[in-house]
Subunit: 401 residues, 2 copies
């Protein structure tokens, strides 16, 4: 097991990376010592992992004392915690529908309802078992319930392992844009169990690789080369390759978050490709495109814009395109039209003083925030990728599913 | 004008107390230097003050360039700001229905919608013009919109002047309990314009006095005596008396918040009377009882429980009852039944490890958090105030209106 630390003073927390962590009563007793646990997961993940996790949380023992919330399961049992001996633990489960389109205030309301129906207090903990949608939404609820209770991230997708579970950004979407309603709320711990990735669909694995590639692109040319050399191993989920990709990605993210938790500067670099990607996701209604797929195309658009601005050469763009394609990620944008793409970019959170600030590559392993690009170059880039008018480019093979 | 400071390091902010602040372009240009302002108010306050405030925000000039959001009014004009010369300012107004029953996630959604419809970015500001409901809800939206944007409190009730506008607690209610969904988010400034209290209904003035009396009770016996001596002047809104009551209340609150922003200790004392009061508000569906009225009865119940525990003598209870009655506040609880009252108290945020922690007086100007009271004494107290079974006490004259 590898342990990294996100250094945030009194809010510092560990990222545990290893196999079998989610079924270890010892790991859970140490990092989830709370008596009242709300397990938030979704309809895909619950049948795979929720029972085993609940058993581990309850230390193997169960009693007949079930929880009293509607639509929840639970029980009291004993788990050793911090040497305080057996403790009565209550685990209530909330199972959400699967998909980015459910990352809404209305779904969050359901989680609030479960906390309140079960009389959970400020000393309760929210345990997010799932991908980015579950983690972002459960984290937002934990941030707001009684003005903030503890939560732990247990990611089940590569995307969540390397990105969304780390760093304390929580949010839900609004029809007008992604992640527009949210909070900064750091977890108590991130428990990244690589075993949970065994059942991940190939397409989701690829989506996570988009973020892994992003870390190499913004900060670490050697890591980028390592990804190129190990792409085949990553695609067959070779455990040591996965562990290294996750560990190095988390190291880079943790270091940046530790220096700039609230994104007043450097943290913005982590958004490379995301402003374009969010426009794709918003324009397609959060269905059809996975976040990582949209980010993959966004990375390419950012690299192409950087090339047009003379910041990088065409070889970097092609090297990136090749690597994304090898990761089985889309390399073409949907034909939503440049005007609509710009519209969605303008409501994205990176806007300041009504001007879109873009993160752009400045070379392999280097990126900067840029707001002084000529509008015409951005317009040309958007037209080339999204079409001058909606529907005017060849449709991507991945725009709908 | 009196200026106090809430000392919170880089998040420190001023409380300005004076007359005419809300119509002063200079005060507004200094404390609301933002180009994009969302003015959140309600149907009662808007006709009284919103037009003048908007004029002052726009520096007196208006153009024909209105805002584009549904249900909003606005315009661009020029206002001097920080010596940067005239600036184009956009003010969009959101008018909410009046009343605690509208302090919900659904109403918050309307404010989010307005921010997004108008393409407001991270550099926008939310200006809350209203009482506690408007301030709490608008502050919560500011806390969550794009994970936190600036906001300024401009309270229009005495309750908001002395309590809810200061300290950064923001929230909405849930049918299961009050303020259960919220965030700590400090304002940039509190602009407490005493002129705005001229139109306050008498009943609302009294409600605010409940919190003023609370400050004396928990922290300052001399201030409690001053309130006794100046109650008549306060009831006729004598400006210097009001200014002193507001100033001293804010001083006490600001000092406590500065030492314990997140209520890990001392700040809990500010909740004296509130756990009982929240039970009254929840049981009556947030209608019929003003928050301050419920707090007034809550203060008396807390004092009575403290007397039963031998913490204070009966003279203190009677002195408090007399002062509350002189402030035209209720001194009897509604007959909701002890069991129901306890049920609502248990979902209140002050619960830890399933035990209700209560703030109780320990003498005039002194209070402490208490969790080791005998359950039977609490039960007797609740039965005496709320009735052993619902409806079993004489109904209070103020339970419905």
């Amino acid at each position: 097991m590898q342990t990294l630390t996100v250094e945030l003073g009194e809010r510092s927390y560990p990222i545990l990376i290893g196999s079998g962590l989610a079924r270890s009563p010892e790991v859970l007793a140490r990092h989830v010592p709370h008596r009242d646990v709300l397990l938030v997961t979704n309809t895909v993940v619950a049948p795979l992992y929720a029972d085993a996790l609940e058993q581990a949380l309850l230390g193997g023992a169960r009693s007949a004392d079930g929880a009293d919330g509607a639509g929840s399961t639970g029980g009291a049992g004993s788990a050793g915690g911090d040497g305080r001996g057996p403790m009565a633990r209550r685990v209530v489960r909330v199972v959400l529908p699967d998909g980015e389109q459910y990352k809404t205030l209305a779904t969050a309301q359901r989680v609030f309802d479960a906390l309140i129906a079960n009389r959970y207090g400020r000393d309760a903990l929210v345990l997010a078992l799932g991908g980015g949608v579950v983690g972002d939404l459960a984290g937002f609820v934990a941030a707001c319930y009684q003005r903030g209770i503890d939560f732990v991230q247990m990611p089940t997708t590569l995307m969540a392992h390397v990105d969304s579970a780390v760093g304390g950004k929580t949010a839900v979407n609004h029809p007008g844009g992604k992640n527009l309603i949210g909070a900064f709320h750091q977890p108590r711990a991130v428990i990244a169990d690589i075993e949970l990735l065994r059942t991940l669909p190939d397409r989701e694995l690829s989506a996570g690789l988009a973020e892994v590639i992003k870390y190499g692109l913004i900060r670490d040319a050697a890591f980028f080369s390592w990804i190129e050399q190990h792409m085949d191993a990553l695609l067959v989920r070779e455990p040591t390759a996965l562990a290294h990709a996750i560990g190095r990605s988390c190291e880079i993210k943790a270091a940046i978050v530790g220096r700039d938790e609230r994104e007043s500067g450097e943290r913005a670099l982590l958004n490379l490709g995301h402003t374009f990607g969010h426009a794709i996701e918003s324009a397609t209604g959060y269905v059809g495109w996975l976040h990582g797929e949209a980010v993959a195309v966004g990375l390419l658009i950012a690299a192409d814009l950087a090339r047009r601005l003379g910041r990088v050469d065409v070889a970097l763009v092609e090297r990136l395109r090749t690597l994304l394609a090898r990761a089985r990620l889309p390399v073409q944008a949907p034909p939503i039209g440049a005007a609509r793409a710009l519209e969605y970019m303008q409501i994205d959170k990176k806007v300041q003083s009504r001007r879109v600030r873009l993160v752009l590559p400045a070379g392999l392993g280097d990126a900067t925030v840029c707001a002084d690009y000529p509008d015409a170059v951005l317009a040309d880039t958007l037209a080339a990728w999204f079409g001058a008018v909606p529907g005017s480019t060849a449709p991507s093979a991945r725009t709908a599913s």
